[in-house]
């Protein structure tokens, strides 16, 4: 029982960077922008958060720097795709090359340096009094890092924002039909800028969880492709922030299995089966492909995503 609880606790931790990145992706796609730069923005957030935490020993500054790092990457993307109407796919891609390169480049002197313990402790595990005593769930959900709580709260807040609040509904209109939104007096470009930048900030937070709490030392390519899977998780979650929680934790479980079952041989019905860790590592990606296929089949007759994702909005074309 306790082992199982600890395993799911690990899974939630492993799922959290996916969740923050997926929320960032949803934020961006809701206003009609497909951002393949998630990985790059995570790297920027991860590095700037690490540098600020390492130099200032201040957890608040570290988180702010991570948010700023991710937002900075998103701003570049927004200028090119919103104002200059550049190709969204390739721009996101270029942002990943740039963000990853810059973080690795600037991070060289910090390579293998360990995060200041006051910072990682301040942001790390804080059991919630009372709730953490609940059997099983107390360990899995309520004895976690501040990042875990924050990501869950943000997911719920985003759902409320896009379902109930005026600005959120207007943002969705921008993503579905920018021409209509423009005609009703919504400042389309401003909405796009704000949401893309907020999305970048969320991705930055996702990267910072790795460098400040989970790992927590600096290494090249610290995000290791999480940002790319997040792009698929946005689709998997059906652009719904709360569903994203479950999707991301499912990936956390898969990753957790890869960690736990490394090189262990199981005997099933007298047969000795040993699964190589490399094969386990493949599972999240295979699952992503399966998920993409299933969502595509399900969506064949109805469009689930914001209708204008991927298209530049040019006013004169209305």
């Amino acid at each position: 029982m306790n082992d199982a609880a600890l395993f799911f606790q690990l899974s939630v931790q492993l799922g959290t960077p996916f969740l923050l990145a997926t929320l960032g992706g949803i934020m961006c796609e809701k206003v009609g922008h497909l951002n393949l730069g998630i990985e790059g923005m995570m790297m920027l957030g991860s590095f700037f958060g690490f540098m600020a935490g390492f130099l200032s020993h201040n957890p608040v500054l570290a988180v702010l720097a991570a948010v700023a790092g991710g937002a900075f990457g998103a701003l570049i993307y927004a200028v090119i795709t919103v104002t200059l109407k550049g190709n969204q796919t390739v721009t996101g891609f270029a942002l990943t090359i740039f963000g990853t390169g810059l973080a690795n480049f600037l991070g060289k002197p910090y390579s293998s340096q360990i995060m200041d313990s006051t910072v990682s402790a301040a942001l790390g595990v804080h059991s919630i009094a009372g709730l953490s005593k609940i059997p099983f769930l107390g360990i899995v959900l309520f004895s976690q890092s501040l990042f875990v709580y924050l990501s869950i709260v943000l997911a719920a807040a985003m759902l409320f924002y896009f379902q109930k609040m005026r600005f959120g509904l207007a943002a969705r209109m921008v993503g579905e039909s920018p021409g209509t939104a423009d005609a009703t007096g919504i400042n389309v470009d401003l909405y796009k800028y704000i949401h893309i930048i907020l999305g970048g900030a969320l991705c930055g937070l996702g990267g910072a969880y790795l460098s400040l709490v989970y790992v927590p030392y600096w290494q090249d390519n610290i995000t290791a492709g999480i940002g790319w899977i997040a792009v698929a998780l946005v689709i998997f979650s059906g652009w719904n922030p709360v569903k994203a929680i479950f999707g991301c934790y499912l990936f956390g479980i898969l990753k957790g299995m890869a960690v736990k079952f490394q090189g262990i041989s199981l005997s099933v019905l007298g047969l000795k089966i040993s699964i190589a860790s490399q094969v386990m590592d493949m599972m999240p990606y295979i699952l992503t492909v399966v998920v993409l296929i299933l969502t595509a089949i399900a969506a064949k007759n109805r469009s689930v995503g914001p209708a204008s994702v991927g298209k530049s909005y040019f006013r004169e074309d209305r």
Binding site: F93, Q278, V279, F314
Partner: protein
């Protein structure tokens, strides 16, 4: 007030050159902020790429995989099939070639090399065809599928290297046995023969895109899939065939790299080149001669970056930073070839 308007007479080339120059300047500023002297960095990069015959050969050798994968990606991009899986297709090609090389019966010969070539083409092609099939059947996003297939391919290579094909003679070191010498590409003018294949492929892809019916169909589909269907083209067949060819070319790059440079298969050999190839294809606007030039320029960044890391302890990631900035500037600059900015009041005066 500023107003923007679409225009049709884009002057691509000089605009691109200008944006590359601006990007290099901006990258220089970034490098300076990071505490390095940008002039020294650029000079070292050029020195590391051209200072001796050996360095030039290294630069050309690094161009080969970039060029070939750039061509493969371009075939797909031309059809608006966003294949970002060159990295995975490269690995699958190398896996298939290695399988042939390790299981050759009898003395290896030129025929074996040919078999490796065909196997690599098919393996890379099928890896891309999976995404093509899923797109044609259920409309699954090829961008994400090709990307996931990259990771699956890399993990597969790791598995082969660490477990299944591990050379028992390597004393526990996770390494796959080297190819027999006869299956290693011979060098011609000091560079392995892959450069000849790369040039042939450049001509082939140019021919494919500009002189063959399939190439015409690819461009029509890339411009508008519906138009292609109304014109009576078999869009499914074109999609599948093109993804097979595009992925296959990337697979060839894997075989050539394995046979010409690594002499074996390992999970580090692509090292992000498949992603660089995407940037190259896009920058070259999918035109084979331009891909040749751009991939050479990018290999300067790679070779120069690697040289700099050794000579000056400047991280080789500098090359990635410069690459990213160049790409971002090119993407941004396209605005100015597609739209013009007009001052509103000026136009009113003209109207009077």
């Amino acid at each position: 007030m500023l107003r923007i308007e679409r225009k049709t007479d884009g002057k691509f080339l000089h605009q691109r050159i200008i944006s590359v120059l601006i990007a290099l300047a901006v990258a220089g500023i970034v490098i300076a902020i990071c505490g390095y002297n940008p002039i020294v960095v650029y000079r070292e990069m050029l020195e590391g790429s051209f200072n001796s015959v050996y360095y030039v050969q290294q630069t050309i050798q690094k161009t080969i995989p970039l060029l070939i994968m750039g061509l493969g990606v371009a075939v797909c991009f031309k059809m608006n099939f966003i294949n970002i899986g060159a990295e995975g297709q490269f690995y699958m090609g190398a896996v298939a070639a290695t399988y042939v090389a390790l299981n050759v019966s009898g003395p290896p010969s030129a025929v074996t090399l040919l078999e490796m070539f065909v196997a690599a083409f098919l393996a890379g092609g099928i890896w891309c065809l999976i995404a093509g099939f899923l797109k044609s059947k259920w409309g699954v996003s090829e961008t994400l599928v090709t990307l996931m297939l990259n990771y699956i391919a890399i993990k597969l290579v790791s598995y082969l290297q660490y477990v299944l094909w591990k050379d028992p003679k390597s004393l526990g070191f996770p390494k796959i046995a080297n190819y027999p010498t006869d299956l290693q590409l011979k060098s011609v003018f000091g560079i392995h023969a892959g450069w000849i294949i790369a040039i042939i492929l450049t001509v082939f892809v140019w021919f494919l895109l500009h002189r063959i019916k399939l190439g015409y169909e690819i461009s029509v589909m890339g411009a508008n899939e519906r138009t292609a269907r109304y014109a009576g083209m078999n869009t499914t067949r074109i999609l599948l065939l093109t993804s097979l060819i595009g992925g296959g070319i990337c697979g060839l790059a894997g075989m050539i790299q394995a046979s010409g440079v690594e002499h074996t298969l390992n999970d580090q050999m692509a090292n992000g080149m498949g992603y660089t190839a995407i940037a190259i294809a896009y920058m070259a606007q999918m035109e084979p001669p331009a891909i040749l030039i751009v991939s050479f320029l990018f290999s300067i960044l790679l070779q120069g970056g690697a040289y700099m890391q050794i000579s000056m302890q400047i991280p080789s990631a500098t090359g990635d930073v410069i690459q990213g900035i160049i790409l971002l500037f090119i993407l941004g600059s396209e605005f100015f070839s597609r739209y013009r900015v007009i001052r509103e009041h000026k136009q009113k005066e003209e109207a009077k």
